[in-house]
Subunit: 480 residues, 2 copies
């Protein structure tokens, strides 16, 4: 871990990779585009899983597991879907040395196999709604892989629901994007913009795709989670119907929604700095590290005092490490724990013990304080709460400061040529205007924010591209 991290200013892309490899979050795998998630990275992912899984259960969702192997023909049953995923599918052709009769796709997502199965499970209105989720690995051919952000195999959860009414499916999809917002803002401390995708950016086969969009430190957008109102397309393609209260056969409506290990990338690129990883306390596998400063003559005294603090904090339910390794200087240890993102560091030596004090530093601001030994429990707990909200506020301020209302095409070009962040601008709804901006500036509509569209009375003004009457307020940005 002795190499230096490239600064963000010098090379943001390289900085991102340096953080991941030097903080030992992930490693390149022998197959191009695949990654190994190392224990330090997986521990964070595991914390995300637990929190999110509890939220799903709160919403009445149950976990299950569907096979990875999908008959290739299933993908072809829904035409938008096959068009969207075919170029990305990995295919199994042999088993035990023999060629298979039909090639099998490694799931790029599981709508098709799940709706094939729902046909067996859904017969009567009593079987609805059906709310399920799976934690799984998925596979997509990826031309420009990037650790956590775009990998050939990645880990995610995919929720799939079946409903008796179109509005119920639509509302459930909206409900789940709100659950993602709650999770990403409150646990990852990443502010997001919630909205609906434009037609050209939605999920293959969806009626509507809702997304949460975050801003990274380089001002690019990152799509952190999506939820899809699938209407009756999958129910229709897989011939799923149910008998309603009147005994009539009715169509079944679907939603699906997912977040992935991509969130690890969002987490890193939102909070970390040139010294290494910065973690919100709720997700930090270690929240507090205690570094005792001792020499041979006072080792026992100092370690004893440090152990007492460690057990006091652990009893409060905090995740604490006492770093009593020998043969390393305190300065070396400080740098290591900063690199891996432990939110709070406590230092103590003999002098501190004699004066009944401790030194406490926060990873987010770097601020050091001398505090009274007896109040360590309260102070550290308060600090962790404060760091969690400070990280959110810093990210929120950055997003707000780098979001600008843009009124016409020239201003839009100028904004992005000057390295702009999010442009808030009107759009007529025509895909050609979107396409033009994408080609010109590599900028896309991230979403049409709910709070600027659905919750307001009509849109006034003109499209930022063509100048025609606007129909939507949109967030435009470069993106990951």
């Amino acid at each position: 871990m002795a190499e230096k991290i490239t600064s963000r200013e010098a090379d943001y892309s390289q900085w991102y990779i340096d953080i991941i490899t030097q903080a030992q979050l992930a490693d390149y795998a022998p197959v191009k585009g695949c990654m190994v998630i190392r224990p330090r990275g997986y521990a964070i992912w595991e914390m995300m899983q637990r929190t999110l899984d509890d939220l799903f259960k709160r919403e009445g969702v149950e976990n299950c597991y569907f096979p990875t192997l999908i008959p290739y023909s299933f993908l072809q049953k829904e035409s938008d879907h096959v068009e969207g995923f075919s170029p990305e599918v990995l295919t199994v052709t042999h088993s035990g040395g023999k060629e298979l009769e039909e090639p099998l796709a490694l799931r790029p997502t599981s709508e098709t196999i799940i709706w094939h199965t729902f046909k067996k499970w859904v017969q009567s209105h009593r079987d609805l709604p059906l709310l399920i989720n799976q934690w799984a690995n998925v596979f997509r051919a990826e031309m420009r892989p990037r650790l956590f952000l775009r990998t050939v195999e990645f880990l995610w959860q995919e929720g799939h629901t079946a409903h008796a009414h179109a509005t119920e499916a639509h509302n459930f999809a909206k409900r789940m994007i709100e659950v993602y917002r709650e999770f990403v803002e409150e646990t990852l401390a990443i502010p997001v913009i919630v909205g609906v995708k434009s037609e050209s950016e939605k999920f293959p086969g969806a009626v509507h795709t809702f997304s949460i969009e975050a801003m990274m430190q380089d001002k690019k957008a990152l799509q952190a989670g999506t939820s899809h109102d699938l209407g009756e397309k999958f129910g229709h393609a897989f011939e799923v119907q149910f008998q309603n209260h009147l005994g009539e056969l009715s169509p079944v409506y679907a939603s699906s929604w997912g977040v992935s290990t991509r969130l690890m990338g969002a987490l890193i690129m939102t909070h970390s700095d040139d010294k290494g990883l910065v973690l919100p306390p709720k997700l930090a596998p270690t929240q507090v590290v205690i570094v005792p400063i001792f020499k041979a003559s006072n080792k026992e005294t100092v370690l004893h005092a440090a152990q007492l603090i460690a057990s006091e904090l652990k009893q409060q339910g905090l995740r604490v490490i006492l770093d009593d390794k020998e043969g390393y200087t305190p300065g070396w240890k400080f740098a290591q724990w900063e690199l891996v993102g432990v939110p709070v560091r406590i230092e103590l030596g003999e002098r501190d013990i004699n004066s009944g004090t401790l030194i406490v530093s926060r990873r987010d601001s770097g601020i050091k304080d001398t505090i009274q030994r007896e109040s360590v429990g309260t102070i550290v707990r308060d600090l962790l709460v404060d760091i969690q909200s400070n990280l959110f506020l810093l990210a929120k301020r950055r997003m707000d400061e780098n979001t600008q209302e843009i009124l016409d095409h020239d201003a839009l070009i100028h904004y992005f040529e000057q390295d702009g962040g999010f442009a808030l601008a009107n759009w007529c709804g025509d895909a050609l205007c979107e396409q033009q901006v994408k080609q010109q500036l590599k900028v896309t509509i991230r979403n049409l924010p709910f709070h600027l569209n659905e919750e307001v009375q009509g849109i006034s003004g003109t499209c930022v591209v063509c100048g025609e009457q606007a129909k939507h307020r949109a967030i435009w940005a470069k993106s990951y």
Copy 2:
């Protein structure tokens, strides 16, 4: 769920499948040999995962994630290993419609890719021991698939460790088989025999394979978990070495160990009966069901009383469902909850409320008792503890009663022709004797139990097959 379950006596195999499908634990997938794990089954697997994961963490093991896709050439680096797994490997040949340069194996197990990666992670004695685990899906071509027991894709955990000394790896492998014994006996309530596999039955590439073997209700053995001392084979094949305290390059020693969704099969075949699933309370997603018995006139009174009981039990940390569905008779509800294996059922009607009593039934024995309303908390908690230990004792008694000491070849033949269970018999150590019994009787050595071999002073007597001097005491049985 209205179909009848085939009785065990009529057809044990069909009974097993009926339990799984009617209790909605799993379903057949469109690809032959694959399965869908339904919410009722997955909830049990999730409970197993949480318990086992805590045990791993107690042993200092950290979770991580390695890719599913392994270059085919990796499997060929360790010769025993490739021989063992080649006939079972599924191969990806295409990605995004294009043929790959090198075919990729879907991991049948991950030793090869993990030791390829360990080469980067292990340099100095400071990097050892390395103790990691992953929860993952694996793939093996399977000619005779069977839900949970043998499926083309299954879920498991695989632990992999690297050590500086051969004895340390050996001892860690032994430690983990003991962790599995603890887990399977204490949580699944399944008694097991812990021992070492014979040469011909061990894992491809292992020096020693340790196993836990359980007896199902049809007296066949089921291997419930294995742990392998891999010696220096994988370290050698992947050129992993470390610098020891003296600065010299030394070989690295390995262990690996795993349990899978096969445990679901063991759980079903150990405890369940002709009425459906029987679950040990520690693994039951619902531990207590309350069935209120009411008519229109007293509905409110009865439901109110039932709700109070439900919240009292939930406050004690129990997993409780109040079944207040309308339009079903109590008898129909009883049968449903028996089918899905809820350990304790509480019934109450207006008469019970008036007399301050309740009816409590246990799923394991079927015994019903009238108890005082005010002691419901204590009684139900005690009952759950009692059911957990009773299920273990029943299974232990069955195993003991169906294990017999066998002294010579004729007796061995007779024992298995008479539908015997486990034969405890001496063995000379020659694979030919093993082979002969396998061909003749479809009986194999399950393992050489530790308590009959390592913990005793020498083996006396003669081999049950050839009559030569015995070297080991072995458990012989038909198996899944």
